[in-house]
Symmetry: C2
Subunit: 97 residues, 2 copies
């Protein structure tokens, strides 16, 4: 109806991580399999639910749950969202909106 989806089962994901130095490389590498790197410890991308589940399972094997933190913001639509950048565009594909 009024919800304009982003295609069958696709969701837009922003992932931000704050993990111990030892695990930074592995966490980044894992996230990069599914998402685009946009800035230090921030990735974005449009993926399906199945890939999102895989990403979370892989990350669970990499992070230290007692110490590290990964936050995912997921969007079924980006219709009510906006992305603004100040300064330089560091990386990634700008596929938000």
């Amino acid at each position: 109806m009024y919800l304009v989806g982003r295609g069958a089962g696709l969701i837009f994901v922003i992932a931000v991580y704050d993990v111990g130095q030892k695990r930074v490389g592995k966490v980044l590498k894992t996230c990069r399999k599914y998402l685009y790197w946009v800035q230090n410890s921030v990735l974005e991308g449009e993926i399906n639910e199945s890939s999102f589940r895989k990403l979370k399972i892989e990350l669970a094997n990499v992070i230290d749950e007692e110490y590290d933190s990964v936050i995912f913001y997921t969007f079924r639509t980006t219709k009510y969202s906006k992305r603004e950048i100040m300064g330089v565009e560091k990386g990634g594909e700008d596929n938000f909106l």
Copy 2:
């Protein structure tokens, strides 16, 4: 109509920054005036348009636009969004959804 707002003129903001070491403290301090710190270089909050404009003006005076990067994701509604955390909740108020 079908857009369920978050109150008059309020928007939900996620700010992520990637700035030179020298400016990290100032950028964090500026963002904290308006938003809650949730993770290393990530803040969130529900603010009005006027505060959001002020935040951007203050940050413009702090960052080096040739080198630093600040990304704002803004939401007129969080109805189609979700926030998931893996590992520890590092800080801030969880006022998303």
